[in-house]
Assembly symmetry: C2
Amino acid sequence: MSTHDDLRDIALNEFAVAGYSGTSLQRIAEIAGLSKSSVLYHYDSKEALLEAAIGPAIDQMKSIVDSIGGSLLDADRRGVFIEQFVDFLLQHRLEVHMFINQGPGLEDVPVIDRANDLVVHLSTFFSSAVSNTEDHLRFGIALGGAAYVLSAKQEYSLEAPPVDEVRAALVTIVSELLAPLSTTPSARSTAN
Amino acid sequence: MSTHDDLRDIALNEFAVAGYSGTSLQRIAEIAGLSKSSVLYHYDSKEALLEAAIGPAIDQMKSIVDSIGGSLLDADRRGVFIEQFVDFLLQHRLEVHMFINQGPGLEDVPVIDRANDLVVHLSTFFSSAVSNTEDHLRFGIALGGAAYVLSAKQEYSLEAPPVDEVRAALVTIVSELLAPLSTTPSARSTAN
DNA sequence: ACGGTAACTGACCGATCGGTCAGAGCCTGT
DNA sequence: ACAGGCTCTGACCGATCGGTCAGTTACCGT
């Protein structure tokens, strides 16, 4: 792997663990075994390093969100989305962890704005598909919880179950949580 | 409210939104309408401000975790815990949001260590009560997702449903996710 | 009227921040 | 042999960081 890519990976990991503002270029340089100047040779600025670290993941997530035409009420199409989403989480835990936690605090950073737009966009899909508070929360818990559990597991990691097993379990649980979306609105009461 | 308490509240809010390292004493002082020196008059250090901001919430969470004797398999006792937990989340969204997101990155800070010990402790309870990967994840999604959704709602906030409704919905969803804990182990298969 | 104390401040400190710049080392094509 | 480009570096910059300190207010009990 090239030095360029090494720096991107190191930066992503540090940003996710210690936060963007909590990570100095000096520290990234030390981990890479380089000087701070070398880091700024490969990337014009700290912000460029952030863009390189999480930009690709955001682009991929955008294409997933765009591909759902808006009809998440259809169980089959929802199933496809859930699998894509879970796979995305598994491949990009660090990126997701980082922009979920620090997104709101890093305004005026273009790559973060793109990510926040995505969250709002996705949230709008579900908001329009559902009317009561409980199902709203169900959606938030499913997506936020799945994202959280993957990043938390590796930090408090007690054991590491096989990836396939985690994937299958996540698909099952998220599907359960999102199942109410396909029932007719009148079949569920909005209160209690 | 006293200046002392004002500073604590301002610090908590800024720490949660911008991160601990992303928040300067200067900024806290500006929001409070004071000088940086005044902030350091009320609190000996930035770390003391962090302790004041999230310490009480952690103490309260500790008493909740301690009160569950370990028998979360009992449906009634689990119900009590879930209600206490949801109430705790509703009262301390900011504190939870902050230590969940930044806990792992803020080592060597006593108050954060206490919080991390709590998470490990709580996680141990559930790990011992459950054997398969899916139920492990169910627990993580329930607690992490509930915590996430409350802090995220107010940042991307589109609307604000009444608190009682949110509370009832959260109790319902978390109870559903944790329900498998009370079934006999043989009643659930570990694979698929 | 006076002494004490709580609240607050500006000046200042060393360290570190992100970033600039001139140049050193090295490899390669000619 | 030499010229040109990568890669990398230390010295340096202004700004900001958390924190210290001497001193200024204002209020309060005596």
